[in-house]
């Protein structure tokens, strides 16, 4: 097993999965506040006394992109739940934002908390009395059991085989390097480290690139329907649903807030969000609806931008265009403009609907063929990322250090598969190489 640390910085989403009013990310450990300060725009949390909260922005330190506005609660040891320096980031409840925040924390050096780990730390640091001990233990146990089951679900047989094959390749390479280092005189050829690592790295990159699709396949996606008032968003939603969910009237601005409707496209659970029409307005309620619509688009996995092709082309609103499908609606009416980048759809006749479903599926899950391996479990993603970083380093390093990096990468993969690294390598040195006198 991997050696757990009880002081390093761990992070996890503390609120239940799904969309809520507020989402909380909890961070705890030695240096937690310094780590959080690197993604925080506002009062520096490492300067704040414990028990304070402050308002500010969460930024990706690499891109300077603002992820969300948030409240930050600072706790100083021993006055925190875990008894360690801790922080809580309270964001708007969007799962997408919470995931990004967590991702950035991992990139800054935090590690995903094990099931029950916050509670375990709290207990070990004397934050709970004797009577609570037993219940803590059963809680931890139950959580690990749930996590194990979840991990098993996340680790499909296909993925497990794939990662096994990658570790096999790495074990062979590492055994080769070690045979060469431990038996310098016995004619072992030097290992071709670069040639050995590149295919493994490529495969890890490919697996990681399926992570968003894997998450969507498992947990579903949110699609936002955005467009000018009366562009036909609610009609399209109803057409995709097959029944009337949204109130459709020819009066622009009927959908003042937003509507959510669950549907399924090719087996993928999807929540479609019908937003208020986007236009310049002075109506206070409508205005807040518009802002809300753009916010929803920012957080959605995919945006459908609708423009009525029977009317003059509207000025497009600010949307995340890299994950936006452009739809020319009301294709049954005479066109006022042509743009091949738009898909022509008519909710009345059903023209283009099937093509739209296919494009939605493709945009969400990529070109991956049916049954392709998806990696969805956050812990697996994080472990693969660590393996990736180590292997990239191994490419640059001389043999003895490359061996150490490959060992670390194998440790990361072993967390997914549960194998003992050191014995396995020695085993292979003697299985694969004729060394020893």
């Amino acid at each position: 097993m991997g050696l757990p640390s009880l002081n390093d910085v761990i992070a996890a989403i503390a609120t239940p999965p799904g969309k809520g009013a507020v989402g909380i990310v909890r961070v705890s450990g030695e240096g937690a506040l310094e780590l959080v300060s690197r993604l925080w725009k506002g009062t520096n949390p490492s300067q704040l006394p414990g028990g304070r909260f402050t308002y500010g922005k969460i930024c990706d330190p690499n891109t300077q992109e603002v992820l969300d506005e948030a409240l930050l609660l600072v706790f100083r040891r021993p006055h925190s739940y875990t008894g360690q320096d801790s922080a809580e980031l309270q964001t708007h409840g969007s799962p997408a934002v919470l995931r990004r925040v967590l991702q950035v924390l991992f990139e800054l050096g935090a590690r995903p908390a094990q099931p029950g780990e916050f509670t375990l730390r709290a207990y070990l640091n004397g934050k709970m009395d004797l009577a609570q001990a037993e219940s803590v233990l059963s809680l931890v146990e139950a959580e690990s059991e749930a996590a194990r089951r979840q991990a098993l679900r996340g680790l499909s047989a296909g993925l497990s085989q794939k990662i096994s094959r990658l570790s096999e390749q790495l074990f062979d390479l590492l055994a080769h390097i070690q045979a060469w280092l431990d038996y310098p005189e016995e004619g072992v050829e030097p290992a071709q480290i670069q040639a050995g690592l590149e295919p493994v790295l490529q495969e890890i990159n490919r697996l990681l690139s399926t992570a968003p699709a894997g998450r969507i396949a498992q947990k579903g996606a949110r699609i936002a329907l955005v467009g000018a008032p009366n562009a036909g968003k609610s009609s399209l939603l109803n057409a995709l649903l097959g029944y009337e969910r949204a109130i459709v009237t020819p009066i622009p601005g009927t959908t003042r807030d937003y509507l959510e409707a669950p549907l399924e496209i090719a087996g993928v659970p999807i929540v479609a969000v019908d937003t208020a029409g986007v236009r310049e307005t002075h109506d206070v309620i409508e205005k807040s609806g518009v802002e809300r619509a753009l916010q929803i688009a920012q957080e959605a996995d995919l945006v459908l931008y609708l423009a009525d092709q029977s009317q003059p082309h509207p000025t497009p609103p600010p949307l995340p265009w890299e994950r936006t499908l452009k739809v020319a609606s009301k294709a049954d009416l005479a066109p006022a403009w042509h743009d091949p980048s738009y898909l022509r759809v008519s909710s009345q006749t059903g023209l283009g609907l099937e093509e739209l479903r296919q494009q939605i599926h493709r945009r969400l899950l990529g070109e991956a063929p049916e049954g392709e391996l998806w990696i969805s479990n956050e812990r697996h993603v994080e472990a693969l990322r660590r393996a990736q970083t180590q292997l990239q380093e191994a490419l640059q390093a001389p043999e003895d250090l490359a061996a150490l990096s490959i060992e670390q990468a194998l440790e990361a993969l072993a967390e997914i598969l549960g194998k003992d690294v050191s014995e396995e390598v020695i085993d292979r040195v003697f299985r694969n190489f004729c060394v020893g006198k």
Binding site: E134, D182, D400, L404, D420, I426, V429, G436, K437
Partner: protein, 603 residues
Amino acid sequence: MGAYDVIVVGGGHAGIEAAWAAARLGARVGLVTSNPERIGLMPCNPAVGGPGKSQLVAEVEALGGLMGKLADATAIHTRVLNRSKGPAVQSLRVQVDRDLYALEAQRVLLGHPQIESVRAEVAALWVEQGVLCGVQTVDGRRLPARAVVVASGTFLQGVVWYGRQSRPAGRQGEPPARFLSESLRAVGHRLLRFKTGTPPRIQADSVDYHKLEVVPADDPPETFAGVPGPYATARPTWQTRTTATTHRLIQENLHLSPLYGGDIEGIGPRYCPSIEDKVVRFSDKETHLLFVEPDGLHTTELYLQGFSSSLPPELQVQMVRSLPGFEQAVIQRYAYAVEYDAVDPLELTPGLQSRMLPGLFTAGQLNGTSGYEEAAAQGLLAGLNAARYAMGLEEVQLPRASGYIGVMVDDLVHRGVDEPYRMMTSRVELRLLCRSDNADERMVPLAVAWGLRPAEDLRAVQAKYTRVQNELNRLQRSRIEGVSALQYLRRPEASYEQVLRLIGPPEIPLSKAEAYQVEVRAKYAGYMERQAKLRERLKELEAYRLPVNLDYTQVPSLSKEAVEKLSRVRPHSVAEASRVPGIRDSDITALLVYIAKMPVPVH
């Protein structure tokens, strides 16, 4: 004959270091061997060191042990291996004169006023009412002692095989220890059955050296302890190769081997394969490299490394004569396989004391390891703790993070062995921090605290590393081509020598060893920092101590497998528990919660 503080049974490499370490602490030591003229004998090849093993020798040396000095004094050929492959794996191998080595070991050891040589075969441990009182000899003597170190090598119930013929023997030509196994079993130890082998020895003047490839000795010679011996560059070694004829002879006669014939039940080491094994398992290889090592300066014998065999003697002659240069060769001693009893090291403490009988220590091949260096390192630790036991002091140990000895002992007593254990660099997670070149920094403070070395040695080591740190600070402050000299030195092509040419030497120029430290520490700083972090994590769980008498069945939520394994292994800390095979994260959590619940002991 008075009472001893410590009795050491066996005069091999474990016994030598055990007796020496105990004597350094002031203990009265009785070194019991059936033949004192054979103390320090090298039954396998006459070489010390190599990858993984030279690091052990360096640590033994830093702990005040003898092996490094003995090898240096009697060297006839030295070679640095992996010189260009990085400081963590660089290693020294020294060929020695077999006879000189034994003589030097006897001279140093028996010259110590606290060590007395006793000629006797030990028949049994002398135990009265569960208390260890000493040992009993075959001829009926009782030798009283407070502590006993058994370092009997492969002699316990030893059986030697030549082809499918076997006879009881400890080594070639020597009787086995017939009775001690029973004694160990009687106190509750489980014994394992292991096997190993040796190659044939060849008459030196029957070989045509022109047909062999010469491996010259390094000149100037390198040393383990600093002082090269008078003959350190005196001899080359040679290489030859197996031929198609060799392979055919083996393939056609496999049924004559006790291993392939199924007579030997002992488990052989993977890293010491017989030539039969190599030919069978790697049948795609047309030829195997063999190493021809002289036994000494005036020897008449050559050691044919890589040619271990348990095939019958008459076949060995044909096999040897199929090798280039060996067409007329005469075998002086045939290759043989040996089977022997070993103690299951899971039943030992990290100080190598028996958990069955306080005061009993075991070391070396008896504990399931292979190799002189592995034996010596254990002998030192066992002798040290035996002397401490005799003085009423607490047992000490070398934690895994401290170096190669720590890793080996941790592996032995917490993971156990299913074949003879050999040290390898890949077993050591922190190998970049635990190098031969900084063994002094890691071990001398411990050696001084334990009484294995005088206090002035610590001052010398501290002064050395202060000079190294000062020089690193100076490099940090100096600038070359717009960067600090330290950063400049990190460039792959840069060297400390070159940096000195650019910024000038420090006030007091550094010694060669110190300069090497500066270069290594500058170049590998990033990796070392990362390993230091890993070391901190290792230490963290070391702090969670487990009582040795903990009743694991009372720990809630511990898996059945964990209860069974931990009850057997008896780890001292949660860190040790985490390395026991089969222990899961949830078991560790259960242990942490349970021990946090226990009342804090009053100190």
